[in-house]
């Protein structure tokens, strides 16, 4: 199993998947069909969980995500969530954007994962 990078597009974020257990999603996520965009990341994570037992850290540094992307982010985090104690989320948000902070807090309510918030 290898590291994988999905390059950012005009409407999709950069996704870096590392076998060390670090997943970083950064940029904007506003594609209409987010399921297609995130499919590779979901597949990678599925294989990773079979091969590795490492703790996973997901860093989300998004300046925007639409409702279709919210579903994919939740799906991704839920798949980490189902192996209790195996992950954490670092939620990075712009200092002056309370909405993005609250979006992170909302996901935290829906999951059983520790969230760490960092403003930038």
């Amino acid at each position: 199993m290898e590291n994988k990078t999905i390059k950012a597009t005009e409407f999709g974020p950069e996704i870096i998947l590392e076998t060390t257990g670090n997943i970083t999603i950064s940029g904007k996520s506003r594609m209409e069909d987010a399921s297609l965009y995130y499919k590779e990341a979901h597949d990678w994570l599925l294989n990773y969980k079979k091969d590795f037992n490492n703790s996973l850290t997901v860093t989300l540094d998004l300046s925007y995500f639409n409702s279709s992307s919210a579903k994919q982010l939740l799906k991704l985090l839920l798949s980490i969530n189902d192996a209790a104690g195996r992950g954490k989320v670092i939620w990075i948000y712009p200092e002056n954007n309370d909405i993005l902070l609250e979006r992170g807090q909302e996901l935290e309510i829906m999951l059983d994962l520790p969230f760490e918030y960092k403003s930038k």
Binding site: E10, F11, R30, M31, E32, D33, A34, S35, L36, S63, Y64, N66, S67, S68, A70, K71, L74, K75, L78, P94, N96, N97, D98, I99, L100, E102, E106, I109, M110
Partner: protein, 374 residues
């Protein structure tokens, strides 16, 4: 103006009346975009990239050039003190076989006289005369105090196969609204009948007057796929506040969700067509959309009314419940777009369903106030 404007079947709320009217004005347009606001160098690039998706390759270069020149003409012949943020306007309409490029800016009496004389002269020259005149002016290199040598206008006249249309409307004081329209043939194989007289500038002048009076700052009609909405969102991003902060984020978010609502529920799977507009209001902005749809979503109106009656707390609960439930469903749609719009702004979602000769039509709108919601 197009037929049927007086025959609207729709009982519109105030906010979406205008888009209902304009969608009929632009019913034959393949693409239509009007923008009122700040013009910077990036604006032209963004606008050009929008049109590039929609036109034949061979016409792209000419269109890009003419759009850039029209834009520069706004800047060059504008008195900055007179032109506040909403006085200048740029529009394009792809109405086969033409692409019409419309611009408006305020000018003083001296500029009016200069432009009137120059455009009349250019419109009387044939292709070879224009070429010779261009070479002559270029050789003389006489720059006007505005930084141009009239070369831009000559270039426009050279590239446009039709006379440049213009009019001047008296404004307050000694100022004039200078309206200019270039009619570019993008399909020269069209029938001679269609290639005859292009749409009169007066039609667009009336539409633009209406948009200005109702404080509409942005209007787009056309395809709403991801690639196409990107330059539009980039334009909005640069002109409605910083998307990094909460206000800019709110507008950007509403625009994305409303535009994607068009592409998800549009009537044609291949071509996601609709109309999107932004009006400035006393409280903020009013965003609205319109599109045809195939599925008779009879319960949509009821659903939106239900969302409008819910509290923020209940909307948040519903959002989380629905989002979580959607994760295991195979379709791409999370089904939370409308809930999210409603809870993000806490202003009612306006919805109107209607029917005309082309099918079922859905219009949605909401006001983004800077003082409430999140």
């Amino acid at each position: 103006m197009k037929k049927g404007i007086q025959d609207s079947k729709f009982d519109m709320t105030e906010g979406i009346q205008l888009i209902s009217l304009l969608r009929m004005c632009f019913s034959e347009d393949k693409i239509c975009l009007f923008y009122r606001g700040d013009f910077d160098d990036m604006f032209t690039d963004k606008l050009i990239s929008l049109v590039e998706y929609e036109v034949e390759k061979k016409a792209k270069k000419r269109i890009a050039f003419l759009m850039a020149e029209s834009f520069q003409n706004i800047v060059r012949h504008s008195n900055n003190e007179m032109n506040n943020q909403t006085a200048s306007l740029f529009g394009i309409r792809a109405l086969e076989p033409f692409l019409h490029i419309f611009s408006r800016n305020l000018v003083n009496i001296q500029d009016k006289l200069f432009l009137e004389k120059k455009l009349n002269e250019l419109n009387n020259l044939d292709k070879d005369q224009l070429k010779a005149y261009y070479t002559q002016v270029l050789g003389e290199g006489i720059l006007s105090k505005k930084g141009g040598a009239g070369l831009g206008l000559i270039e426009m006249a050279k590239k446009s196969q039709k006379p440049i249309q213009k009019n001047f409307k008296k404004c307050a004081g000694e100022n004039f609204a200078f309206n200019m329209q270039i009619d570019l043939v993008v399909d020269d194989q069209a029938s001679p009948e269609l290639l005859g007289d292009p749409m009169s500038i007066e039609e667009n002048t009336v539409i633009v007057d209406l948009m200005t009076a109702r404080n509409m700052v942005f209007l787009y009609k056309g395809d709403f796929s991801d690639e196409i909405i990107t330059p539009m969102l980039n334009i909005l991003e640069g002109n409605t506040g910083n998307p990094g902060d909460s206000v800019g984020f709110k507008i950007y978010h509403a625009a994305v969700e409303l535009m994607q609502n068009i592409s998800r529920h549009g009537s044609n799977a291949d071509k996601k067509e609709g109309i999107f507009a932004i009006n400035k209001t006393d409280k903020g902005y009013y965003l609205c959309t319109g599109n045809y749809f195939t599925n008779p979503e009879k319960d949509l109106e009821k659903y939106v009314n239900k969302l409008n009656a819910m509290s923020k707390h209940d909307l948040d609960d519903l959002y989380r419940h629905q989002l979580k439930a959607s994760v295991n469903l195979p379709n791409n749609n999370a089904g939370v777009g409308l809930i999210d719009l409603r809870r993000s702004f806490m202003t009612p979602l306006d919805i109107k369903l209607g029917e005309d000769k082309n099918g079922n039509y859905l219009m949605m709108g909401l006001e983004i106030s800077f003082n409430n919601g999140k």
